[in-house]
């Protein structure tokens, strides 16, 4: 008995195992799906083992007696044992009967009786109510091309019918409810095209028989499989382009910076100027002791560089000027005077200071003349020329002695004779051109005479070396380091342009006080 029990248990276990493994799609899932899809009241289907099962839905669980009768080819009717089951997925109770033997390609008649009365009556053919399992081993992979996916699967296990199956592939972007469907006959692979790049897709597949020899319902969908499409080449290209451009710009800027690093360093991190180079050894040898350093150096450096600025007793400079034979009247003389004077002073530099280089502007002339006129006593305290030297110019024909205490740089005569000619006193008559002393100039009448009269009268006539008839203008260097711009021909021309202006000025303000303003000065020899 024990052996029998052991063997019996084994058999039962094996049967249960067999029942479970031969399921494929379970009875309940099939029933629940057909409850939705099949419109007939009496629903029948043939499973993968080619057994036909018919079932019907019961709303209320009552103790009704159902009788199931069937017949093939109008032959003898046979009964079928009716069972019931509760389908959890649909929350319904069904009665069903599985035929012991199923014949295909022949007419089948089924009848259901409840309590002796016909409930359902249906005539069908078994080869038209197949219910296939879904496809197996669904695989989705990237095809290596942009926007494509390779889908492949295996057909359900159904003998003799592998080549008559139609498949339906459904795919959608993950998270989207909009899906597309593609049908495929016989073959178990499919390439999805025109997909979005770099997107995750969901793919399902289902199958049904082609309906030529056998017909079936659509199988249930497989479990979804996810796959990603390749990222767009364009996106990759754009990223690569941006990176390469950035790299090139970086290298360019690096090259520029390196080639001009000294310049940039100077601009961004300028050297703090130090005066060390001007003071040799001050900081290195004398440790910053300036007195010590000065004593050691004996002020040699300072002496050289500042001798110009020290107060030196002004040395009188006599400038011989000569009225230029060029065509201009008296008025521009005043403008030209400082020019010539400067030029002369530069030419005879032995005793002259090098400070003079350029007569001032016409405005400055006016101001100086105005100042002198207003305050003639302050000529001696004039800020411009501190020279207190006076000079006496003797005129051969005149007893007047002009005293000039001040000289103006604007009172210049063009000088053509060398300086030593100044000292030739033979019959030398010099006219004091006290142009710097406007206020003290006597009236023009006979006050001064220019030896260059002839030049006035005859502009084209060059100044003849007639003799020692020169007009003097003494210029004293007061040590003022005024930096005048060098007189150039253009400036001379400008001064000439101001001829009218100056002339007016003189006539208005100085009138006759200016001996040379509008008079011919006659020189006497």
């Amino acid at each position: 008995m024990r052996k029998m029990d052991g063997n019996g248990l084994k058999v039962v276990f094996m049967l249960c195992l067999a029942f479970v493994t031969t399921g494929g799609q379970s009875f309940e899932s099939t029933v629940s799906q057909l409850l939705r899809d099949e419109t007939e009241d009496l629903k029948c289907f043939v499973d993968r083992k080619k057994d036909l099962t018919c079932f019907w839905e019961v709303e209320e669980a009552r103790n009704d007696q159902y009788t199931f009768m069937y017949s093939f080819e109008n032959k003898k009717k046979m009964p079928c044992v009716v069972s019931s089951r509760f389908v959890l997925a649909s929350n319904k109770t069904v009665f069903f009967c599985k035929l012991p033997k199923t014949l295909f390609f022949v007419a089948l008649d089924v009848q259901v009786f409840r309590d002796g009365r016909t409930l359902y009556n249906r005539s069908l053919k078994a080869e038209n109510v197949f219910f296939v399992d879904p496809p197996r081993n669904l695989t989705v992979m990237s095809s290596g091309k942009e926007g494509q996916l390779n889908v492949s699967w295996l057909p359900p296990l159904l003998k003799h019918m592998d080549d008559i199956m139609i498949y339906e592939v459904r795919y959608a972007v993950e998270g989207s409810h909009m899906g597309k469907v593609e049908e495929k006959a016989a073959s178990t692979t499919l390439v999805l095209r025109d997909l979005q790049s770099g997107t995750r897709y969901k793919v399902w597949v289902r199958v049904k028989l082609d309906g030529v020899s056998y017909k079936s319902y659509w199988s249930s969908w497989t479990d979804p499989v996810f796959a990603d499409t390749l990222p767009s080449d364009m996106d990759l290209l754009i990223v690569l382009l941006v990176l390469s451009i950035g790299l090139i710009l970086f290298l360019l800027s690096l090259t520029v910076i390196l080639s001009h690093h000294k310049f940039l360093l100077k601009k961004l991190w300028p050297d703090i100027p130090t005066p060390e180079h001007k003071f040799p050894d001050l900081f290195t040898v004398y440790k910053g002791d300036f007195k010590e350093w000065m004593s050691q150096n004996n002020g040699s450096i300072w002496g050289r560089s500042v001798h110009v600025f020290t107060e030196e007793p002004p040395s009188p400079v006599e400038i011989l000027s000569e009225v230029s034979p060029t065509s201009y009247d008296t008025s521009p003389r005043e403008e030209r005077k400082p020019t010539e004077e400067v030029e002369e002073s530069e030419q005879t530099d032995s005793g002259l200071m090098g400070g003079w280089r350029e007569p001032p502007h016409a405005n400055w002339l006016m101001e100086q003349m105005r100042a002198l006129q207003e305050n003639p006593e302050s000529l001696s305290q004039s800020t411009l020329l501190q020279s207190h030297d006076t000079y006496v110019a003797l005129n051969q024909n005149s007893q007047h002695v002009q005293e000039v205490s001040e000289r103006q740089t604007d009172d210049v005569f063009e000088e053509t004779l060398p300086l030593q000619a100044l000292f030739t006193t033979e019959g030398t008559s010099s006219l004091s051109a006290s142009h710097s002393d406007l206020g003290s100039l006597p009236q023009s009448s006979g006050s001064g005479r220019l030896s260059s009269q002839s030049s006035f009268e005859d502009p084209n006539h060059t100044w003849p070396p007639k003799g020692p008839g020169y007009t003097y203008m003494a210029v004293a260097d007061s040590g003022i380091s005024m930096d005048y711009s060098p007189m150039s021909s253009s400036n001379i021309a400008e001064l000439r342009k101001h001829r009218i202006y100056t002339n007016e000025y003189k006539n208005e303000i100085f009138g006759n006080k200016w001996p040379f303003s509008s008079q011919h000065v006659e020189s006497g020899y």
Binding site: K50, F105, V106, H160, D163, S187, T189
Partner: protein, 127 residues
């Protein structure tokens, strides 16, 4: 009343799978012959139906050629195509042309297809 002797179209997979290829071929051939004889009887008055039956005759002959090319045609049929009573379980009798065509359709879809799909020459190459 005229009757047509037509093949049995029923297929019991449990039985069919136990029959060897030659046995299957014989069944198919016998049935084809019966159909050929039945459709040859020009007893219909309806012209459209007559033309359909004429097409069937040509199709049945084509089927014979296919079977011959597959070396499935038997040299001789064991069933005598005459008016004698159906002695084989492979025959059935129908009384009208529509029934004849319906049986023919079932026969072709069933047994003929099963036989041809099992033939090596007709096997799809599995990729």
């Amino acid at each position: 009343m005229k009757s047509y002797f037509v093949p049995q179209s029923r297929v019991d997979f449990a039985v069919w799978e136990n029959i060897d290829v030659q046995g299957q071929a014989m069944e198919v051939q016998t049935g084809r012959s019966l159909l050929a004889l039945s459709t040859a009887k020009k007893t219909v008055s309806n012209s459209s139906l007559a033309s359909t039956l004429d097409n069937n005759i040509s199709n049945i002959h084509i089927l014979g050629q296919i079977l011959h090319s597959l070396d499935l045609q038997q040299a001789r049929s064991t069933v005598l195509p005459d008016d004698s009573a159906p002695a084989s379980s492979q025959m059935q009798e129908v009384s009208s042309p529509p029934e004849l065509l319906q049986v023919q359709s079932s026969f072709l879809r069933g047994k003929v297809r099963l036989l041809l799909s099992a033939a090596p020459a007709c096997q799809r190459q599995n990729s």
